[in-house]
């Protein structure tokens, strides 16, 4: 076990660097340096509460997105006031989740905040078991729409949903403006000189959001729900490198002297000027690149493959697989960009994933749910209730909304 630098332990214990540790606090640090902590960190398979812990773990995993959103909402709102103050909370006044959700709720009047708060308050009451076949709709769940957060190089965050159209920021020599049709555009501004440092911006869509950005070189990126794109405000140097988490459709402006590179989970997509889709959600463990036209090279570790229009490269593990896609299949890959939810050829899980991201609801597949064949597409503006009705026209799987969770299970015929 590595020894820990003093200031880290001090800070971890909520103290400033020159305050000495109490005996108890020294003990906690000693647990770490001696390696004893490794034992208590771990759960014993023989622990009688093993299943309880596992159940709680699942529950926490399911709500971590929601909690993060409320932390972020509260953080973004209080950022200007807090920016320079490093808040050292005294040990007795922890600011916990409920306080933050409350703050988020009050400050924004946000439905999300209130809802989270409501959920937290009610968390103790055991949620009644999923008693069969009652599709209850407590409150209408809205489809996603055009919204996102822009994070500037100095970590300032701009909520693109609420800010009016017009110039929203200057970054480097670029002027960033929000257009009336809900997209942002980077343009060279005459009044601002370029600095030497590369300033990275990121555009992040929440679940239930999508957005479009025109980058400094004129390349356009459509960002799907629950995704994030990181890019320099101005492209300097010999290439144009951006990084994506989630899904985006790229129309790259041609510039032979500066190759465009997209990084996603250790996979690199190298292009000159072209149109393609990259899908790299954390939950999927693979990066899928689908080429519409032009030519791109997909690199992961040591392997490098070129793909042609109509082909798809799927990187999973260290392997790159190339698949040919028919016109219809291509249309399905790009359905999201054209405002559609694709059902054709999708697994139950993949459909639930799309619903999860676009309607910002939790999803669950009950054990023993069979696969089913669905066809066609659904407009993304369709209310969730109607989407579920359409999905339920299939023979074998029942989709129901219970509270805030869409559940798929086998139909009892």
């Amino acid at each position: 076990m590595n020894a820990l630098p003093g200031n880290i332990t001090q800070l971890a214990l909520g103290k400033t660097e020159d305050t000495p540790l109490t005996r108890d606090e020294q003990e906690i640090c000693e647990e770490w340096t001696s390696g004893k902590a490794l034992e208590i960190m771990k759960v014993d398979a023989a622990d009688p509460r093993l299943l309880e812990f596992a159940g709680l773990y699942d529950k926490l995993q399911n709500k971590k997105n929601e909690i993060w959103e409320s932390i972020e909402a509260a953080h973004a709102l209080t950022l200007p006031a807090q920016q320079d103050v490093v808040v050292m909370e005294p040990q007795t006044s922890r600011i916990g989740k409920r306080t933050w959700m409350l703050a988020a709720a009050i400050l924004t009047g946000s439905v999300l905040g209130v809802y989270s708060l409501y959920k937290v308050i009610n968390a103790d009451k055991n949620i009644v078991p999923a008693n069969n076949n009652i599709p209850v709709v407590a409150q209408p769940i809205e489809p996603g729409r055009e919204r996102a957060t822009l994070t500037l190089a100095d970590n300032r965050q701009i909520n693109l949903d609420t800010i009016p159209a017009g110039i929203i920021a200057y970054e480097d020599q670029m002027e960033i403006s929000k257009q009336k049709d809900n997209q942002i555009v980077y343009k060279i501004s005459d009044n601002h000189k370029s600095g030497t440092k590369v300033l990275n911006n990121s555009l992040t869509t929440p679940y239930g959001g999508e957005y479009k950005v025109t980058l400094a070189d004129g390349s356009k990126v459509w960002l799907n729900a629950g995704s994030s794109l990181r890019y320099p405000a101005a492209f300097k140097g010999n290439d144009r490198a951006v990084e994506i988490i989630g899904e985006g459709y790229f129309e790259v402006a041609e510039d032979k002297s500066k190759p465009f590179r997209v990084f996603a989970h250790g996979t690199e997509v190298k292009v000159m000027g072209t149109k393609f889709n990259v899908k790299a959600y954390d939950s999927e463990n693979q990066v899928t690149t689908t080429l519409v036209n032009g030519s791109v090279a997909v690199q992961h570790g040591a392997s490098l493959k070129n793909i042609k229009p109509g082909q798809q490269a799927i990187v999973s593990g260290d392997n790159i697989e190339i698949k040919n896609k028919s016109k219809e299949e291509m249309a399905r890959v790009l359905a999201w960009k054209n405002g559609l939810i694709n059902l054709e050829g999708e697994s139950v899980q993949a459909i639930l994933d799309q619903i999860h991201r676009w309607y910002n609801v939790d999803t669950k597949i009950e054990q023993g749910t069979p696969e089913t064949t669905l066809t066609g597409t659904i407009e993304r503006t369709t209310p969730l209730k109607v989407v579920l009705e359409l999905l339920n026209t299939n023979v074998s799987v029942q989709f129901t909304l219970q509270g805030h969770t869409v559940i798929a299970k086998e139909k009892n015929n």
């Binding site: 971890a12 398979a45 970590n155 992040t204």
Partner: protein, 201 residues
């Protein structure tokens, strides 16, 4: 809890995407750790969240290694949990364990202790090996359902619930002891693939 070097690097650079990822990677693990000490779900979440928030709000803090970052978080939540226990005048459940512990022996014994994220995967893999009904009883137990509720849901007698549960738990433990070390980190992805298959059977 698996923090990658890449995540650490981005965290050190104050990359906002790292904040979110770090929160999501650590939140459940830390909360369960605190919960094992203090036995209160809401408080555990609060302690974990405030530790992570404090870390994220300090823009100058950087770590040389993943282990250090992990140590920071565990020390921070352990301290929070101990403060809570002190104010509630309760004992630290780990104290005895920490005192009893002899110096680590060289002989590798049967390992059946894992960090929560790893343990959860092992349980999932083990559940896949159980009969359907047995696995269903375990899953519902994990959802905090009472035996009579489980009996009703699965349409079996309460007695069967007890037998299936104890059988299931025993078999899960054996599975974890036998297979725990096989599911090292590189296998996790393969494991996930198998899980998906099992899930969609």
């Amino acid at each position: 809890m698996r923090i990658t070097n890449d995540l650490l690097a981005r965290f050190n650079n104050n990359d906002p995407t790292a904040h979110e990822e770090l929160f999501k990677t650590t939140f459940a693990d830390l909360t369960v750790f605190v919960y094992r000490m203090i036995n209160d779900e809401d408080e555990s979440e609060d302690i974990a969240i405030s530790a992570i928030r404090k870390l994220l709000s300090n823009k100058d803090l950087t770590f040389k290694a993943v282990e250090q970052l992990k140590a920071y978080l565990y020390i921070s939540v352990r301290n929070g949990a101990l403060n809570y226990l002190r104010s509630a005048q309760k004992e630290d459940p780990f104290r005895k364990l920490l005192q009893d512990q002899m110096p680590v022996s060289e002989e590798p014994v049967v390992n059946k202790k894992y960090e929560m994220d790893h343990m959860r995967k092992l349980i999932e893999a083990g559940l896949g090996k159980l009969e359907k009904q047995c696995a269903a009883v375990i899953r519902l137990t994990m959802l905090n359902k009472q035996p009579d509720e489980i009996a009703k849901t699965l349409n079996i007698s309460p007695n069967q619930v007890y037998t299936q549960k104890s059988k299931g738990i025993a078999r899960l433990r054996t599975f974890i002891e036998e297979n725990g070390s096989k599911y090292g980190i590189p296998v996790v992805i393969i494991l996930l693939a198998i899980l998906c298959k099992l899930y969609f059977r």
